[in-house]
Symmetry: D2
Subunit: 132 residues, 4 copies
């Protein structure tokens, strides 16, 4: 059994699920789905509403940083309260992103792997890649 | 050894890495980091800039849906081109989210697990959870 | 005296500048500028920070509407509290937009007139305009 | 007849319309409304869709600035092409803001005057205002 190199990155991934074991994204997606279902929120979780909610949560992250200097922003996690606030907004963005993928039938990990292949063509690395 | 119930969701997860196998989020984070490093983009990838980029990508998702009726939005993946566009923007949001977590030292999966515990208190489920 | 053909765009405007009297946008811009100056906020009101703040306020508008059906959204002003909330967020967006224009030296009214001329070329009206 | 002091700002304005002459915001709102009507876009211009479009345009402004240093951002208008891009995105934000106000029956200028009264209470100026 070969482990996929975690740095292969831009390469399309053909590893089987059994190689990988339970997927953290699948775990989190299941948790997000159950959370909404238990509260009967599915009727609100349409794709259009979820993209709105996702962008709102992303803006709540922006709000934390909007008046900071680059230096203050770089040290944001050193402040316990602000750091926890950032962590919570990151979680909200991830929750809506996974919820959106769930209702649309998108595999976010594979979407990102595919996008990185495309981006690698669009923005070629200035030097030979790290295999050399 | 017990596997974590995939629906436990709100519960902090203490399962060992070997239970889970290689973490897809760690794999993707490594790929995103390598991609930026190969292009010498790290100086631009400050926390402040990354939250801006994240919100911009979230808005590119919103742009796809902004003039659609709820019905059109629900069927968006049936159109091959629009569906691929959605998939790419989802990937961009995930890439910047992981890049942001990487520079800030946040574990996005654990952040979401913790946030769901907090949300479960804030929004109690109207009924007994599904274990009953 | 010649009428300013303000690039008449789509614009049914035939008023001369003297007809117009004090410009409401100039009035509001002056008020926004004075408000920031009295609080010594100018160092924070850089272009980069102001575009962030503008997008955050726009998202606060989105947040009000994100879970509404189209019908609920259409009737939003009938609810006194929600309507007032919408009105306040509209005000915040306008405040940051005028503040941004002020620091960048942009005349927002002329920018919009010019953009409408460009848009009219990009999206030609399907029929003869209403003058016919 | 007294002209409203252009710097009165935070004060609710009770000046009659004849004092002010044709209002530039009314002019622009009329132009935005006519532009949409000529293209039969009204069915798309629901409040929910318009707030989405507004936030998307605000993000297009953010996109211009996202990788800039504060210094680069401060000098953005010195580059003719980038400056024109900023001006166009400002125009798009203003267009959707006025379109939204139009369909919701909001007077954006009065909304901002009212909001500044409220903000002045929330954030008292550290010193006596400039009238003293």
């Amino acid at each position: 059994m070969t482990l996929p190199s975690p740095d292969s990155g831009a390469a399309p991934d053909t590893a089987s699920d059994t190689t990988r074991g339970p997927d953290v994204l699948a775990e989190l997606t299941g948790a997000v789905r159950a959370f909404a279902a238990e509260r009967h929120w599915e009727p609100f979780h349409t794709p259009k509403n979820l993209v709105m909610a996702l962008s709102v949560e992303a803006s709540e992250l922006v709000e934390i940083f909007q008046w900071m200097t680059p230096e203050q922003a770089a040290g944001v996690m050193a402040d316990r309260d602000v750091g926890e606030h950032v962590r919570e907004e990151v979680a909200d963005v991830l929750a809506y992103l996974l919820g959106l993928c769930d209702v649309l039938g998108i595999d976010p990990a594979q979407a990102l792997r595919d996008k990185m292949v495309k981006n690698a063509r669009k923005y070629p690395a200035p030097q030979a890649p790290d295999e050399d």
